[in-house]
Amino acid sequence: MTSGSTQAHAPTPSIPGELKIIQDATCTFCGCVCDDIELTVKDDHIIEAKRACILGKSWFLNHSVEDRPSCTIDGNPASLEQGYDRAAQILTHGKYPIVYGLSDSPCEAQRVAVSIVDWISGTIDTTTSVCHGPSGMAFQGVGEVTCSLGEVANRGDMIMFWGSNPAESHPRHFTKYSLMPKGMFLPNGRKDRTCVIVDVRRTKSAKAADIFIQIKPKKDFEALWTLRALAKGIELDPELVLRETGVEFSVWSDLMDRMKACKFGVIFFGMGLTMTRGKHVNSEALLALTRDMNAHTRFVAKPNRGHGNVTGADNVVSWRTGYPFGVNHARGYPRFNPGEYTTSDTLANREADCAMMIACDPMANFSQPAREHLATIPYIALDTKETPTTRSAAVAFAVATYGINTGGTVYRMDDVPIPLRPAFASPHPSDYDVLTAIEVRVKKILGIT
């Protein structure tokens, strides 16, 4: 068996017509990566997913084996061998090849993708760049005072969410990790915690808050610096604070008093910060506030990560190249420059001339200039489902679903690695298998032994 193969945890064979129970299966829909799911499997589909949230149930129950070719070339069915050959030709003939996605692939497959990019002197980027990429930049500037979700469950008595709506994006966040659990130092669970939510709209998560603070749109930076000033004891003009943040000074002052008084504060932050004007400086402000708070009490911050293994992508690309995303190898060594080597830019600036899109859908999620350019270049797409991206690909692979059909390792949003326990086998190859086969052919074309 190849080292790092996702087949290391192959599913146990199903007996036709009989039910199979998978204990402690791992849900890879979102960054919570809940690993306590009980699956009931019949033949080649999951009929029940106990303890999964609404998003997790939809994930598990809708990933049955799809009756479609494992590979198409220019929309026509092709053999996997033909697909691997064509993919390797595309990647090795380009002058500016890019590889993007990876956040819904296990770490073992991510590692192979980085190797391919290294061989072809290409650019690798992950969906982090359009998610918490700005936070990744902020981590480098400020650092990250952080902890595991286990520590949050056992210690966190002041739980804040900023620009994040876990009730809809991470439905078990409250119950499994942050608000409801009875922890080692919080025997009464929710009653021992204060929940604060800061957002520009009253999201469904706001119902869970003890204190909901609705700030002016695009004023996160100003609101966070208001708190930074209060943490440092700097005098502020209440009228200016109200005008800039849309919130009375007394509300911020009261919040700061509570933050200073807690024993273990946590700020979970979302894309309300990173996708809004300011982007990385918004994240920097929040991380700096968290750092500042440690002069008074223990305080940590964590980005709420979206895809199941987007955190793994950050880790794998970091330990392979030294940088988390947006990494260019054109000079034979890795260079990191968000805004230049990130995929939104290499496409919208019409620089990339071929691409491989792994478990992502830029044809649905990218800006129109980026999508228009992607439509003009040959690219390879790997996905479990048909998407606008797979439909326009020169070579499309229908791959097995990680965590349902294949094993491997994923990283939870708090950088804790978690193994996958697949439920049933798929006739389609895993993305690890596809990428490994493409890597072999790329090396052959380039004369690398």
Binding site: F29, C30, I54, L55, S58, W59, L61, N62, H63, D125, S129, V130, G133, P134, M137, N165, E168, S169, P171, V200, R201, R202, T203, K204, Q214, P217, K218, M271, G272, T274, M275, T276, R277, K279, H280, G306, F325, G326, P338, G339, Y341, T342, T343, S344, D345, A348, N349, D361, A364, N365, F366, S367, Q368, P369, A370, R371, K385, E386, T387, P388
Partner: protein, 119 residues
């Protein structure tokens, strides 16, 4: 002079479930094609459920989309909400301001009525 709104795309449960069901299926398509407008704005502008409006962004990019009333108090007046998807992406520009991230929330747009809903 058209009024300027701030467009906030984001996650919804239906959009998330729809991704797993399939992006070409009804649940996902319905989720990403409904623009939520604050009830106060709808009343003030004489808009009704199902009306078709045109959004125009800062660089002239446009989309047409049907509107639905946001749940009470969920959206303050002046803000618009839509689930992430094709329409929200079309309102993004290609510029990432050196960050790799296009401005995907807090986009300034104008909104004008294109067609009244069929009663």
């Amino acid at each position: 002079m058209l009024e300027t709104f701030i467009l906030i795309p984001g996650r919804t449960t239906d959009q998330g479930c729809g991704v797993s069901e399939g992006k070409f299926k009804d649940r996902y398509q319905n989720a990403i094609r409904a623009l939520q407008v604050a009830p106060g704005d709808m009343t003030r502008l004489g808009l009704a459920e199902g009306d078709r409006v045109r959004l125009t962004g800062e660089e002239g990019q446009t989309v047409e989309v049907c509107i639905t009333a946001a749940k009470k108090e969920e959206l303050p007046e002046g803000l618009l909400f839509i689930a992430y998807g094709d329409i929200s992406s079309r309102m993004m520009t290609g510029d990432t301001h050196g960050s790799g991230m296009p401005t995907s929330k807090g986009m300034e747009v104008t909104m004008e009525l294109v067609q009244k809903a069929v009663a």
